[in-house]
Symmetry: C2
Subunit: 330 residues, 2 copies
Amino acid sequence: MSLAEFALIDRIRARSKGRDDIVLGIGDDAALLQPLAGHWLAVTADTLNSGVHFPPETLPADIGWKTLAVNLSDLAAMGATPAWGTLALSLPEASAAWIDAFADGFFALADAHDWRLIGGDTTRGPLSLSVTAFGQVPHGQALRRDGAQVGDDIWVSGTLGDAAGALALWQRGELDVTRPAADAETEFLRQRLLRPVPRVQLGLALRSIATAAVDVSDGLMADLGHIAARSGVAAHVDADLLPCSTALQRVLGSEAARSCGLQGGDDYELCFTAAVTSRRRLLALSGELGISLTRIGAMLHGEGVHCPGSGAVHGYVHFLSPPMAAGDQS
Amino acid sequence: MSLAEFALIDRIRARSKGRDDIVLGIGDDAALLQPLAGHWLAVTADTLNSGVHFPPETLPADIGWKTLAVNLSDLAAMGATPAWGTLALSLPEASAAWIDAFADGFFALADAHDWRLIGGDTTRGPLSLSVTAFGQVPHGQALRRDGAQVGDDIWVSGTLGDAAGALALWQRGELDVTRPAADAETEFLRQRLLRPVPRVQLGLALRSIATAAVDVSDGLMADLGHIAARSGVAAHVDADLLPCSTALQRVLGSEAARSCGLQGGDDYELCFTAAVTSRRRLLALSGELGISLTRIGAMLHGEGVHCPGSGAVHGYVHFLSPPMAAGDQS
């Protein structure tokens, strides 16, 4: 660990708040935590690499937000309350300004969920960010992928395809991720790509309602495929019911919007299954939380994900561009 | 997530064993774990980057071992029993052969400590490996850095400087890290660099003896400096008492050996403080565990780390070479 590395860690440590269940925070060989009695620990880990998971020019504050958001989204999909986590940060050069801006985005989201950074590592290397996030969920109440039943409805929160739409605009050179777009619709899509909102409150509320859940990170078809495979049933989706935003449809057209909605990743909405008898509760919940919930299909006997008329459908591939020149490193 | 990424994760998942306290392992949005009642959770995170923390040509099995070893060493320094953890693996290209060899080294060490991989992420990018490791320690029994008292002895396990010695040979072109060395002494040093053994059993035994502990990852002077700073006392080391291996002294000479022992990192021995009244117990423990324990100094009033006659001493800097060409990434 170099002196520069120590200085960077200090800048991050200064932004990390305490919590009653943190016995010892950043600064020893390990942090010490007091888990809640009667709860399971939910643990997830996701990495973002520059040029693979976000455009290389993305502003550090947006990278900070998204780095944590994708992990809190996994906790949301388990019905877990966010608690603590670690950050492994690899940076090409030690830059206090970069770290401070990154921390602005990262801790804005962390603080909103009382999630605390309790450890990590800063190393020199190509820009890469790995978070391991812990949440807690009462015994037996976790949302898993394997509980969907034949006859269950399939639901999704919010709108799908917005992030993929923004990425498509960026790839065509029609979107600058570093500044607000001139028109409101493109700006909405840009925000959906850069600042996804993990559906934590929704995940907690779904503990007693959903039979299975997943977050939409790799695309609806791929992620719903996980529920189908692990539950041993088939998912049938009606593409006409897919919730696509007005912004996406106006900017890309309705055909491309539907394709983004089915296949596009990075929206971090929740896709879940629930019994038909839960419809009324879910519509009430939608009103309470101010999050739209849309019924898009049903689980039936069989296997796989079926979406008549949608053509060939695949999971989202997390590579924005040809692999970066990685040098001779292994 | 690409199909190739799924396939790599499957290869790793196939090597991950279960444990009674793993409610749900790899394969959902998050793993679910049942922490031990009456215990704190110890959490640490360390990243290794190719060309920064190990020579780029290092064999994948050796990288796998070391990736986990450096993290278990942090748990050892807390007196925590290793339990579970996550791995974020960034690879330039999807290679099943590389993953399998990496897993050979990684799981050899994991299995030896009943440590279980319960999640992670595989992404494309320059070779980088981040582990977040969890251990458990009974309430109030953790080894911290801040408990050293004036008058305490300073102890270290094993020998110091071997890994730095091997690195020096490699930098001079006198050591090939990819194959056994011709002579036994150089081979000993090579193993110390590539296959450090985390002092887990020692850490557990020290719970009731040590007043403070740290693992020697950045060099004795730097790491002992953490104990001194956080405990508010000064550390006085007698360089003549430093345990350097015969191999290191024969290969590098006694002057260079001492310098490696004081400043060299990557040995992953434990440095700890204990009351003078614990000397007999520690010598007995050394015999029981078959690990040499050497008393190298004492904690006194004041601050900093003092080592008369050793000249200028600094912490270890984890950069093998000039920073890698990282491209235009941020």
